[in-house]
Symmetry: D3
Subunit: 240 residues, 6 copies
């Protein structure tokens, strides 16, 4: 079984970290390849960033189909390009926000999300509504760390720990969901320090897509998620 | 890793079938034991059936804790006793309705549920609301097969196939969710015949709980799902 | 007219108190009998408690049918076993949470609930959603009194009064709903001290079921709430 | 105990019928007076009718307060003027739509409404949303009988019976709610013919307000429903 | 193009101010006439006030139809009589709450409402629900200024400015909506002082109705908003 | 006042038609320029099409800012790139779906949408939820015309007329919303033939953005819709 994990931004160190976390989560016999788009923003911190990241993500899906991957993870907490990816792929595609949120829903009454920039909170609320989890999310807590600070800032880890503690105290939540792929490596340490379950969306999505493949379940191709009109190859937007 | 799958009714042939389907879904290195309560209804077809099934389910959870299981599946599409089970178990507990519904949510715009008795449709609607999936479920289709007919009725399989076909045509759905643990063995054949993903909650819940255990995620124990007051052992309702 | 009020726990002093409050609320010509199950938890403070209480509640309904009662009140603020009871009874069955909540909806824009343990707040939220009253409930306030403290703790009354005052100030609510059958006797005193309407679910449910009987209204028996399959008597779970 | 039932239109024959039904529902020791406004539309069949009916309804509330009534019923299925009436009255005020809808919520999974003109269906939907009952109402069925046809049309009764039968068959509902005060007298016959509970809002509201008075519960007067600014008497819109 | 703006209360200074603001917003070639009802409350500060204001508003609509106006604005933040007005008018009718709320929805994630009396907050919440904007409104802030204080109180302006500042800080909102027609003249100054968009419903509704007329769009007259039954003229409630 | 209308696809004939309709709707003194992206799909008929269209739309916004436009319309019924465009523009940005939907909300109880491909219906539902209009939309009717058929197919117009007629009959709606920018030119003829209001989103959005500019209202820039991190210029994704 081969799963392709697509970091939606172009920062190589983050792609490497995401790949490690995904591989650590995957079961025996599962090959995980982590990639990032050839072109696009170095971090996804705005609606505009997301818009410019998506074509590169979709090219990676198209390339993945040519290479015969069984399934895909989109590793950015905004789930950029997820619906379009489902049109292009034969196998299942899972976003880390949707997997993180759904996995956390098994852990009790509700969870808190700890994330980076406060300007992303609105988009997270939209996703919670779309995934039917608005009632389960008891709070979204922005640290106002920039995404790439997570790669370099020595105090980022402490800032996140403190935000988790505050979230648990204020929300009375049963688990924490980490709201950025760049936090994936902090998951187990945070959980140990906080004494509650901490959900990393990268691990959650990898395990979810592995499970879907094992159950031979994939996106319905008869309606909204059918392959898009062939036009796009002729328009050179998507290589066939 | 040891997972205990609890068929909530006392019909041994169904327990055996559920165990087979769960074992087929589980990954390498996972031991799956399927049991049913010592006492309780032979089928769960009413709110009353469910009420009388739950104490036996919880006794199996308590016994499972004594035996050191890592996680549990409650294998009845009404998810009977799920919240109480989460109080009693240290590891994760997953119901087949919640897992079937959440897994199907990854497969497109929406799914249809094909189930047994029409009197159970209201309860399924309640679960969809609770799990935030009311918008994703495009229809619930009762066959009015009794639960135990699935064990014995030679035409049950054809009835279910026809209900699935009608559901897909009417709802324009991307997948089918089977609304009874007793249909677990039909999943792959139905999927092949229908040409769409068919979700068996038993497999979905087994794979989900296996994933939660692998990620070391469990129910939050600091609030609503803390172990219940010690009273119950003194009251001989629950063996310590 | 004969109404059976079922205290869902087995604490006799609480059953006696509930019976008194129900009788005080009932109109002329109404006989109210208050009972508790033969077996079950002494208090209902967790999902597990509720699960073990329900079979005893249902046995009381079945016995009540044999004895010809016209209607039933389930006197525990979690409304345990309510849907199953509606299957078993010919006449109407009303829970004290649903009646308390619906009665309070006539009193203004919104109400606050004052209850016992904070671990029960999630369940109360589920009931508010189910009864369509999430928008009318402006706050749920747990005192963290245990249920049986209400029988014995001399300062319980003061704790509850203070919680009501805080609820009114914080929520700007028009009424208080008492979130435990064990608080039934405090209702009129609290109302006098607070200067707002205080709703006791025991009184509300008794008066509601009396009204339903007077209007000759009862549960629809043609669908979800039809009598359960006869199996249960054969299985000795329910005496016929 | 004295309850004033206000037919919101000025048709005397309907007021008489409503009074009879309310008195038949009320308990022993309850005096029910049925009135209609001095001026206003003969039937309420549009938003405009309702707007012109409300001042007369409120004058009846103000007169009722001067006369010392304990509570009020507004007997028109649109609940016209209900919130304003709650400002003006010391005791409880109940509308027949809200009472009919809430009473029907005790009777199973859901109910159907059978009403007069299809142009009123939108307003009924607004009320269902406001009262938290959108999920419980499984269908609204307009007969396109005019309100005053109910007083005179010999085939009106048969039309309504047929609409009820169709509603039950189509919606799978557990009860019927009659969507017009002018249908109050048909309630028991319809119930007998249909074999399900039929809810007349006039009876439901009368019994509900009687119960509220017995429990000494009334509208919260500290916020939205405080008595309106004294201006209105000076403006001769409302007699003090 | 002729638009009639109806101040729902009878305070002439407020009508004049509203007229000025509406004229300032209207495009070239648009005649705006501002009127108030012949009779009714001097301010609308309660449900009762609103009830007594509506007949006068509707008489102005009826008179406007006779005079051939192309469209109407109802200039009171409770949108009193809006649905009835839509029955009576051939052209479009727009309320200042609905227009203010919808216009603000184009300005970002969410807005705050700054209003007069806290007793009106509940009604505003009802309108937000009805207009589908509950999620976009991040807070409602009452100043507890009476409506007519806005005409006379020298410190009213400072109170409103402070409430706007507090709303922006607390809610993190993208715009302010002024919750009273009497604040219309403050809009541009407040916007300059606050540095965010401030929406005056009078301007928003005037521009909206102008746009609807330009697009030749009007209320659907085939269903709920058909002209009411002719009865009303015979009943002398509405002049034909 | 200068408004830039961006057809999100690259089909010149459609851009010309959209420009004409927008200019016809705009008021005196308003300059409307209609453009399409330099590169991107010829039609937007899938999530993938939309993803590849958005960068070109945003480049047009950035170019528009350099050229000093006062506001923007995004002329594709999926509102592609709307949130990102709001980050990039100083003035208001309006999508034709949001404007069409909100404008139709003024016209009665509810509207029907008539659109092109059935695979786009799910996305339209998402927009209705996001814009708070799920309750107002009484039906979405796909004709299964491809977008470019609207440019060339001689029977397209008849197909759309028939779909509108069916929608009105089935939904009982008060207006029709055209679900594709390519239908803009049909609006007035359809309205005349159907006898109800037909809303063209291009006209609705043009008039809406004109109104916002006149009121000096624009997107809040202090939170989610602040200009994106300067990174993007350095990354050559967006010219400064």
């Amino acid at each position: 079984m081969r799963i392709k994990v697509i970091n939606a931004n172009t920062t190589a160190s983050m792609t490497a970290k995401i790949g490690e976390c995904a591989r650590a989560a995957a079961g025996p016999g599962v090959t995980v390849d982590a990639v990032s788009p050839r072109q696009g923003p170095a971090a996804i911190e705005s609606h505009t960033d997301e818009a410019f990241a998506v074509p590169g993500v979709l090219e990676e899906i198209a390339a993945g189909e040519a290479a015969g991957y069984d399934g895909y993870v989109i590793a950015c907490f905004g789930d950029p390009g997820l619906k379009a990816a489902r049109e292009l792929a034969v196998g299942p595609v899972v976003g880390i926000a949707e997997a993180g949120i759904r996995v956390a829903s098994y852990l009790g009454r509700g969870f808190s999300i700890v994330t980076t920039l406060s300007r992303s909170v609105g988009h997270t609320r939209d996703l919670l509504d779309e995934y039917g989890a608005a009632r389960s999310c008891l709070g979204i807590h922005a640290t106002d760390l920039a995404v790439l600070d997570l790669e370099t800032d020595p105090v980022a880890r402490a800032t996140i720990l403190r935000a988790c503690e505050e979230a648990l105290a204020k929300d009375g939540s049963d688990a924490i969901v980490l709201g950025c792929a760049g936090m994936a490596d902090l998951c187990h340490d945070l959980s140990a320090q906080l004494g509650v379950s901490v959900v990393d969306g990268v691990a959650a999505a990898t395990i979810t897509v592995e499970g879907l493949i094992r159950m031979r379940l994939t996106t319905g191709k008869g309606n909204e998620f059918a392959y898009p009109p062939a036009r796009l190859e002729g328009e050179r937007l998507l290589s066939s």
